[in-house]
């Protein structure tokens, strides 16, 4: 069991800044996120799109913001637990126990939920029968390329992931690329490569069409697609790969006994605590009168929540409000050398 002062759920910008605000108060944190890297929506949804409303930062991309936050929290050497979703939260006296999808257990007096709109999960195929083939012959990501050798693979999607895997897997398998419209969205070089392989008949491209049926018993044998002009076609298929991006799902959070308002968690505005003492919600996932879903609001929320976290984690110490500019204690925690040394 991992012991810490605050378990932070979500490593988006607000979760990352929580590490900072708690860190300068001398609190240890562990960060859990279902994605494979830090940044949350900033990295997953708009890494290259500009943001214009971060104070004192006239313009930065989602990626730049994330990288700067990561740099800002390096002194605190916090542990990140990626590709893990928090499944269970239980109480043990005045502490909280958190269990993840990878069976890791954490214990802390505080939990800070900075979960955005929930955890990111791949968007599944619309067709109901796809479900029973999932993990056997329907996949939403490629983790082991070896499984996709010498197969008949139908790839759905029109973005970078679909195009990149079509290129890669066409080296060892028969690939059909299927998309709902004629245009693909990808790097010009990749698009040119795909067109070249299509001419050499190494990749088959089907547009504009959508999946209408999957045939087979235990394994997929064929699929049926329907073109815009109502024409149908059967394609021999062993494996379906589908790349329709990620969606956000609130998931187990709804079952932790917290007061919810639609898909958000109700909190107080003096310390962003939920109805459960020691569980805080910050950033897009929390709600209160006047709430704005802005990154800067999340930064304010973690600053205030971290004070209450301190009081709960260090009940015998007095909280002292200090400025980073002048506090020797904070500067030590930030690993800075004292000027008069």
């Amino acid at each position: 069991m991992i012991k810490t002062d605050v378990i932070i759920i979500g490593s988006g910008p607000v979760g990352l800044f929580a590490v900072h605000q708690l860190g300068i108060k001398g609190l240890k944190t562990e960060v859990i996120d279902n994605l494979d890297k830090a940044g949350g929506q900033c990295i997953e949804l708009y890494p290259d799109k500009p943001i214009y409303d971060i104070p004192a930062n006239p313009e930065c991309t989602g990626k730049e913001l994330t990288n700067n936050l990561l740099k800002q929290i390096t002194p605190f050497q916090t542990n990140f637990h990626f590709n893990e979703r928090v499944d269970e939260v239980t109480q043990e006296r005045d502490k909280w126990i958190v269990k993840t999808s990878k069976r890791k257990t954490f214990i802390a007096p505080n939990i800070m939920i900075a979960g955005g709109v929930g955890s990111f999960e791949p968007r599944k195929l619309n067709l109901k029968e796809a479900e029973k083939f999932e993990g056997k012959s329907v996949f939403y990501s490629v983790t082991n390329k070896e499984m996709f050798k010498n197969k008949k693979i139908s790839i759905f999607g029109g973005g970078d992931s679909a195009l990149d895997w079509a290129l890669e897997l066409s080296k060892t398998s028969k690939v059909t690329l299927i998309h709902r419209r004629n245009d693909f969205r990808g790097a010009p070089h990749t698009l040119a490569e795909i067109k070249k392989l299509e001419k050499q008949e190494k990749i088959s491209i089907k547009t504009p069409c959508q999946l209408t049926a999957i045939g087979g018993g235990d394994n997929i044998k064929s699929i049926e697609i329907k073109f815009e002009d109502e024409r149908s076609e059967k394609i021999e298929t062993d494996i379906i790969l589908s790349f329709f991006g990620l969606i956000m799902k609130l998931g187990p959070i709804a079952e932790w006994g917290l007061n919810m308002d639609k898909k958000t968690i109700s909190v107080t505005t003096d310390n962003f605590q939920t109805n459960k003492p020691g569980i805080f919600a910050v950033g897009d996932i929390c709600t209160y009168p006047g709430k704005l879903k802005l990154i800067l609001s999340g930064f304010h929320e973690v600053a205030l929540a971290s004070v209450e976290c301190f009081k709960r984690a260090r009940p015998n110490e007095r909280y002292r409000f200090e400025f980073t500019t002048s506090s020797k204690t904070i500067q030590n925690r930030l690993g800075l050398k004292k000027k008069d040394d």
Binding site: Y46, G158, H179, D183, I247
Partner: protein
């Protein structure tokens, strides 16, 4: 204020007044229209405010930008008349606009 009508996949209709200048998505959220999730809050990053625009209106509203069309690829059961409702800005010209929400958003 222009009136906007939402039809859900079971053909239930609800008409709301939306202030000009707001998006159809914002109008829907303020009026608790079920079937519009708008997870990303209007940053055109999630395709969960996806609607089908009635044919006669489809050509009247400004065309979708490339980035919106790319995002619609990710939507649940996109069709030719699919739009993201966060990108349709209400004006007096859109009085009576009717959109249908998909069976689900994700």
């Amino acid at each position: 204020m222009p009136k906007i009508t939402f039809i859900d996949s079971s053909k239930n209709t609800k008409t709301i007044d939306v202030e000009s200048g707001l998006s159809v998505m914002e109008g829907a959220i303020q009026n608790n229209i079920t079937g519009i999730d708008a997870d990303c809050g209007g940053s055109m990053a999630c395709a969960t405010c996806h609607v089908y625009v009635e044919e006669k209106w489809f050509d009247k509203i400004p065309k979708a930008e490339d980035s919106e069309i790319d995002m619609i690829d990710m939507a649940y059961e996109p069709k030719k008349n699919s739009r993201l409702s966060c990108q349709i800005i209400i004006s007096d010209d859109l009085e009576g606009l009717t959109v249908t929400t998909p069976e689900k958003q994700s």
